[in-house]
Amino acid sequence: MIEPALRFAGVGKSYGEARILDDLHLEVAEGEFFVLLGPSGCGKTTLLRMTAGLQTLDRGEIYLRGTALSPVPPEGRNIAMVFQDYALYPHMTVYQNMAFGLRRHARRRAETDAQVRKTAALLGIGALLERRPHQLSGGQQQRVALGRAIVRDPALYLMDEPLSNLDAQVRATVRTEIKELQRRLRVTTLYVTHDQVEAMTLADRMAVLNEGRVQQIGRPIDVYRAPANEFVAQFLASPKLNVFDGTLERAAGTASVRTAIGTFAFPNPPSSLGEPTALRVGLRPEEIKVSFPIDESEPHLSVRLIEPLGSQVLVIAERDGTQVTVSVAADALPAEPRRLRVVPAGCAVHLFDRGGLALAHFISA
């Protein structure tokens, strides 16, 4: 087996009684863009800081290209980090900010100069080298922070929510740039975020974390299609996952789940699904098929609220205390819809047991 670029082996961290990270195992391949996704307080930033050497581990070990990192001080780890607030030195010019680490690592002046200019050209900040951080826009500061990481030519990039201080428009631009840059440089990257869009768009693979534990590891599309548990499904849903209580009904060769908003039939019922009759059923707003009946006699939900998002519209409907949020294409929405019906066929259904563990994912027949 080839040693992965980065390996977390049973990593644990506690603050007093609180377990921040618990027996964490992860492997990141050479050149991979790996995203740690999770809510604030899930331990993802702690993991990043431990990798950088800014915090110590209580248990386990982190290996970079097969070398245990614990005995190595931060400056010896050949790791560069991009911080949430950029952490540029305010009293230094852009050039000095980028050159500082190289000079501290005792590179020669001429070599440093060449590296800094090459990296600045790569990032399109060559004209800003003599400016100071406070004279730059947020996007430019972010680029300098990236430059400071790249210029060192490290074995690993760590990025701690690097886009969270940018406004929406710049964020999308810089996100694309980061992705392109990483593709080009092929440096192993560990990227922390709480934003599922960033995780989905950037990651080669990702790990979803909650309360110090890995919930699921995989390619974004696989995690999205088959979330391992209700938490992951919920976290990757936008705006939110619809969850209903359901009961499993089996007949000869067929199976279906009955919920308050409709009954969803399995296309080919899996035999693995035991006999838990009480289930939790998750449906993402964008994965529910709906129609807007005019006829009042059809069973339906009453539309409560409409939230236009541009090309998509969120419709919130309710019946007998059961609420459902669906996302539909704006041009498929009739003027002033009053009634909404869930079409049982063609919905992506996620089944969880009472404890939230995923049992099956299927497109209803």
Partner: protein, 271 residues
């Protein structure tokens, strides 16, 4: 417009009582002895007596006093900057047992009038036979609670992420203090150094107590020697001496004030 005018009117009015003593000092320094006290105030020196300056300079060994004042002030301020920086660094950026207690002791030291320490310090120095030495003038002021407090506040305001970034750049401990904290705290350092220089250049009481020898006396003592040692005081010579004693401070303040403003503009610390 009216508001601006009113502001300046107040400022000018406030300036007048501040500048008057300086003006009177300058005018008196150029008067003949008989013109110092007159029935009607003499606002301009009618016959400027430039001779007062060389006379005053040679009345006491002012060359020696100048040298002593420069040495003593420089040693005190340099020592205060070094010790305050190191103490503030520890108090602001390290976790250790008793950190809060020590910080409060520093703050408490701000409240204690310096005169209270004089007797104890004098006795100590006398026992060691160190009176009439530069050490006696410098040692009691080598550390400054005020400077430690000011710098601790400045260092504590530097964001944690900058320290993290510096560590990854191979810059921890004293290198972080030197390359990041101190440059970022330049306005505070300059402001504190200015206050300290002026305070110790002008200090009279402590040097008076621990010196009785011209070899180590400082300028304020030299000025004091004009007063009361004979029956009459040569006020015109005293004022001339006061001019050249205070001139370096006025010059320093004038130069550093511009530097001070510039230093402020250059440190845009983003949170």
């Amino acid at each position: 417009m009216m508001r601006r005018f009113a502001t300046y009117a107040v400022l000018v009015a406030g300036l007048f009582p501040l500048l008057l003593p300086f003006y009177w000092m300058a005018v008196t320094s150029l008067k003949a002895k008989r013109d110092v006290f007159t029935a009607t105030p003499q606002w301009l020196p009618l016959h400027p007596a430039w001779d007062n300056y060389p006379l005053a300079w040679s009345a006491e060994p002012f060359g020696r006093f100048f040298f002593n004042s420069i040495v003593v002030t420089t040693l005190i301020v340099a020592s205060q900057l070094v010790l305050a920086s190191l103490a503030a660094f520890a108090l602001a950026r390290f976790e250790f047992r008793g950190r809060r207690a020590i910080f409060w002791l520093v703050v408490a030291a701000l409240i204690v009038p310096v005169q209270i320490t004089f007797v104890a310090n004098f006795m100590t120095l006398a026992r060691f036979g160190l009176l009439n030495s530069y050490l006696a003038l410098v040692a009691p002021y080598a550390a400054s609670a005020f400077g430690t407090f000011l710098l601790r506040q400045a260092f504590a305001a530097v964001p944690r992420q900058l320290e993290d970034a510096a560590r990854l750049d191979g810059c921890s401990g004293l290198a972080f203090l030197w390359h990041v904290l101190l440059p970022l705290s330049r306005p505070t350092l300059i402001a504190f150094a200015l206050v300290a220089v002026v305070a110790h250049w002008n200090d009279y009481f402590w040097p008076l107590i621990v010196t009785n020898n011209n070899a180590v006396r400082t300028l304020p003592i030299g000025l004091g020697m004009f007063v009361g040692q004979e029956v009459t005081t040569d006020w015109n010579l005293l004022m001339a001496a006061s001019i050249f004693v205070s001139a370096p401070m006025l010059l320093l303040f004038f130069l550093m004030q511009r530097y001070f403003v510039r230093a402020r503009l250059h440190t845009g610390i983003r949170g």
